[in-house]
Symmetry: C2
């Protein structure tokens, strides 16, 4: 296996982007990544996208995006793992470069979610859950995560204030991110008083519906050095799955797919969880960030909520989480999210995070954790400064 | 890069399978491939599936299938390239095994197409074309391939009889395939007299709508030898794309994505097209088989139609094409088709084709060519007897 690096990154505008189509959002991000990296060609393209068929009536996204990038002929493939598609696109690019088959691969993610009605978007997102055992009976994602939140509160004493602290922290970080959909700060009492979606989750516990794309250039260290642009090393990539339906899991206060993905990524990287200095974590709901930090061993079970409340995961805390603003503030175009996490880790490790969002101190190792559905799939990458 | 082999194959029932769901079809094929190969575990799973979101309201297919196979935890990913998703699943498994990251990977494909209405299925399939420049204006696949057929007939003198000969040949082969959806022979005059769908294509020029799944076990030669089961080597894998919309291609009498995919696969295999002795080719419409044989250099432009009429591509011809029955007779569950092509090449190269479908002579090299949409993506594999 060859060493693998990320040498350029790009993001489109994120938010309710009425004037740009699925393909245009992708091209915006892709061209930035290409220009940012200085590569003169691509060998292959992976596009993470969850449900373009249901959102905008378009499948066959790999070929379409190669076409609209002006690169007809390029091997191109869409990968789908619900909201973990972006991280999986990076993983496939990693594997392809590691294998020696290709030297320069673009991993991108895109989703255009606001072109259909709210009901239709809710249905499209629900297809990431078990259609026969959950969705058919009326379950949607806020409801599934609400059950996880209640179980976690019951078992560990996690509180409303801890959930709110996740949202407040991520908005504080996102306020410094130029591409964030909601780049403003909020207060804990605003979260607690916002509209109830599925008890105990209020609307400010939930990540939004977003249009957007992100892209990174994955290549060998040899090519990265020649390009003479800032780059980072990808030390490890791990993926894992779990039962689709919550009812079929032994414990809904932990996310086993993330545990497995993190263990596998760390093993490949020859690192331990204690080597990781900061992380982008899949905070689709506030409770998810807490559960994930515990599932990956960054905190003991029941300790991530209190730690968040104490400011440990803030930008200036001892373990910054979601310096980008996370899904909550930056937005969550589902197939793009996992790639945007890599973009943030790249920026932090190369000292390029904008507007005072740079984590202080000497950063060496960062982690990105992306997740599908209620945690039936997860993918983790461990990255190191070059 | 490590050597890559296919060591076990499995297929579910193909057809209008009312009693089996998407997940059950997959499990049927997957368990056969596992039993057939003798592997005691998997390291990873790829599932090709075009549009389960539109067909049955279910995305997140990778994790779901790992779950229903009883392998929660397994890294699992869906790949999508319209009707080329199956071939792409095999390609990703090939890359992962070649890279050294995994030793035993399942590549599967599945589609459940008959659970929605005919109108809905037509819409779902149309999402493989360019939504903004083709589908919005009413184009569907029979219409797009009809344009290609007219152009080919005009340029090369391809005739109704040549198109019919493709269908007659593939039904003759499919009549010997126990999993074929339409395992019966037809006569040329039946094709010509069947219902017109989009001039010049009659319904017997078109592949059907099918429920079905297929799976293969991809591994290293070392593991394959230890398992002591029949196996074949995968010498080369190539993928290519082209403009999505027919109107944006220079020439619609050829499929450039297939040309590129075949060239790349042959280059990796260190073989020439003349080394290939038989092929599974993506005959979604009769005209497609003719165009593809020419696009990959198996016949000169304009010569594949006359060759088919002369019986050259028959089971006992000098270059047998679609010994399985092809998409036309075997059926076309879009995401599964590319994997089923590998199943057929495996059976032919290991001397296991059923019911007198075995190609005579000493077979060494076979090819499988899978295609998405009207040819915007294609993937080719070159396989060799072990």
């Amino acid at each position: 296996m060859r060493d693998v690096c990320v040498v350029g990154v790009g993001m489109s505008q994120w938010g309710e982007v009425w004037r740009k189509s699925l393909r245009q959002l992708f091209v915006d991000a892709a061209l930035k990544a290409i220009n940012n990296s200085g590569v003169d060609h691509l060998d292959s393209l992976y596009v993470g996208c969850m449900s373009s068929g249901l959102f905008v009536g378009q499948e066959h996204i790999g070929a379409l995006m190669a076409d609209y990038l002006g690169m007809q002929g390029l091997p191109a493939l869409r990968v789908e793992s619900a909201c973990a598609g972006g991280g999986m696109a990076v993983r496939q690019a990693f594997i392809e470069v590691a294998s020696g088959i290709s030297d320069i691969v673009m991993a991108a993610g895109v989703e255009k979610m606001t072109d259909c009605s709210g009901d239709d978007a809710t249905f499209a997102l629900a297809t990431a859950a078990d259609q026969e055992y959950e969705v058919f009976h009326g379950a949607t994602f806020p409801g599934l995560y609400a059950m996880m939140a209640h179980a976690h509160m019951h078992k560990y004493g996690t509180t409303r204030e801890m959930l709110s602290a996740v949202s407040v922290k991520n908005h504080k970080n996102g306020a410094k991110n130029p591409v964030a959909q909601y780049p403003f700060e909020i207060k804990p009492e605003q979260v607690a008083k916002s509209v109830m979606i599925a008890d105990p989750l209020h609307i400010l516990d939930c990540s939004p519906i977003t249009d957007g794309a992100a892209a990174v250039i994955v290549t060998t260290q040899e090519v990265a050095k020649k390009l003479a642009k800032p780059y980072i090393k990808v030390l490890g990539s791990g993926a894992g799955t779990d039962a689709m339906a919550l009812a079929q899991r032994n414990d809904i206060t932990t996310i086993k797919a993330a545990t497995l993905a993190a263990e596998r990524a760390l093993k490949m990287a020859s690192k331990t969880i204690n080597d990781v200095q900061f992380a982008e974590v899949h905070d689709c709901f506030t409770i998810a960030e807490i559960v994930l930090l515990e599932s990956m061993g960054l905190y003991e079970p029941g300790k991530a909520g209190p730690a968040t409340l104490a400011g440990e995961t803030a930008l200036d805390g001892k373990f910054p989480v979601n310096s980008s603003g996370g899904l909550k503030s930056k937005g969550h175009p589902v197939g793009a999210t996992g790639v945007a996490q890599i973009v943030e880790v790249y920026k932090q490790l190369t000292g390029r995070a904008e507007n005072g969002r740079q984590i202080s101190g000497s950063l060496k190792i960062g982690m990105a954790q992306n997740m599908g559905g209620s945690g039936a799939s997860s993918v983790v990458h461990i990255m190191e400064v070059a």
